[in-house]
Symmetry: C2
Subunit: 196 residues, 2 copies
Amino acid sequence: MSLTLAPAAQDLLFREARTANTFTDEPVTDEQIRAVYDLVKYGPTAFNLTPLRILLIRSTDARARLVAHMEEGNRAKTSAAPLVAILATDNEFHEETHRLVPHAPGIKDAYFSERPVREHSALLNGSLQCAYFVVGVRAAGLAAGPMTGFDHEGVQKEFLDDDHTPLMVVNLGKPGPKAWYPRSPRLDYDDVVTTL
Amino acid sequence: MSLTLAPAAQDLLFREARTANTFTDEPVTDEQIRAVYDLVKYGPTAFNLTPLRILLIRSTDARARLVAHMEEGNRAKTSAAPLVAILATDNEFHEETHRLVPHAPGIKDAYFSERPVREHSALLNGSLQCAYFVVGVRAAGLAAGPMTGFDHEGVQKEFLDDDHTPLMVVNLGKPGPKAWYPRSPRLDYDDVVTTL
């Protein structure tokens, strides 16, 4: 065993953590989401520009509007989860360069003057932050149900604007009865890792 | 404090973990990378299709070929790190559907028959797995130095093929003297999170 992280933490974050499809009624509080954010905001991104933005869907009205854009197989669980989050990227993330990279504000113009470059960077780095968020949700003792199965253009028009692109929708809560399917296989190390 | 994860683990993975720019001479072993992979392979991806592939750059020749494609500011540290990994996506990841989604092999044709759809999914899900990898490296008591500052087309041509796209290069090792810059600011919770 070559890991420093304690076995209980390995289990909590990866080995026993699973994508939940059912949840108990126990609420997920703003304090929990704040604790998750205050942990995972430190995850590394290119130039520290952290393009992820989070919409918490708490109201009945917003929930119904979101569920209408989910793929059919995702509707029941997205309706029932104690809390749902839309994770999106801000394609104009470079406007925060003066705050986030105060020692090198010139990178805004040197690297990010073109929108397609920003969109690619926002997708890559926003996705990194989605993963940190899922790990953080698990660190809070909650289960996450991340989904990309929804009408992305529909969610963008319903909740966002032209500068924000949805990446995933995540159901959040304590796992309920029969919360998950059997674990699917993973690729072997030798299928994934090549040494040169 | 609303987190279940032990404070020492929070520090190891996020609060005290930093992007390292210098490293000690202590080698990073294949056993360590195997332990990292065997932990983070469980991180969730869409349909469990796990498009990430990893090239470990161990030989002097391969290291020199990689360094030539790095941005100038990344060359010295990429030359000096005990181990360097190229993290890439396999845009033909759907060919593993029968192994990875044995209960629903039909998703291969239902969702992934078009290359642009696969490229977008591979970028998003491969980036999630890059983040899990960085967290796993930290779980192994190592520091990661993830970089997107390199000639992506050059690295692809030098080390990969048309079906594989590089996402990041990561320096790996124990942090050396003056390994990091002061921590840059992060966005406030209220700048990132909106509740509807």
